[in-house]
Amino acid sequence: MKGGIKAWNGLKAEGYPEVAMNYFGAAASTEELVVLAWLLEEATRKLYRNISEALRDQSLILLFHDLAQGEEQHKSVLEGLYMEFAAGTAAAGIEGHRLSQSKGGDLTEGGVRLDEALQWLRGRKERDILEFAVSLEANAYDRYLTMWRLIENERSKRIFESLFRAEKQHLERLIEAFEGTL
């Protein structure tokens, strides 16, 4: 690419996406990978719901409301995968799984803790909030895509493929909104 990354005016991610392996390393099975991914989606849904409740601009309120709904849909996809992979062996659904109880859903999909994100966002301008959300989704996309590439198990790959494709759609909406503030 001519000019290298200095010339790049598109999306950027930061950190090593392989750190996602540390988080997902807690999974002892494909079903547990799904649970861990579901927890990330749930924390991100809460984040976007909080943001939508704190904004004043109607179009942005709607955007973050839709993003929160989008994370809810991602959760539904994961719940479907969980039931498929567990094949009737799971006594409880995802919310009753031991990982849900212990991890508690405090990490968002971009790798930022929910409480820290909410703390940082207090009093921020709308443009900063959008920029933060773009960064979060870019990192989530980066991590899920990397996991998809690294994992060999076909069932596990399906999980991350569905996630990175979904994050790309969120990114497109956020970038459009962010560019509207420039």
Partner: protein
Amino acid sequence: MGILDYFRSGSDWSVIKVKEFLNENDPDDYNLVDVRQPKEYESEHLPGAKLIPIKELPDRLDELDPTKPTITY
């Protein structure tokens, strides 16, 4: 197969062309490689880019699919 086989038809693509390519193609259909140093990659990189510092490239070619276009930066 040597390193040159990966870059046989290489040419400098503009940022616009790279963006269009990444938007229009599935991540499974290309190699996107960051050839800088780890700290630079950690600071920022294109989402989905694989880090292979330039000096390591000859020894890590097997990590790339030679049948797919390879974009480096």
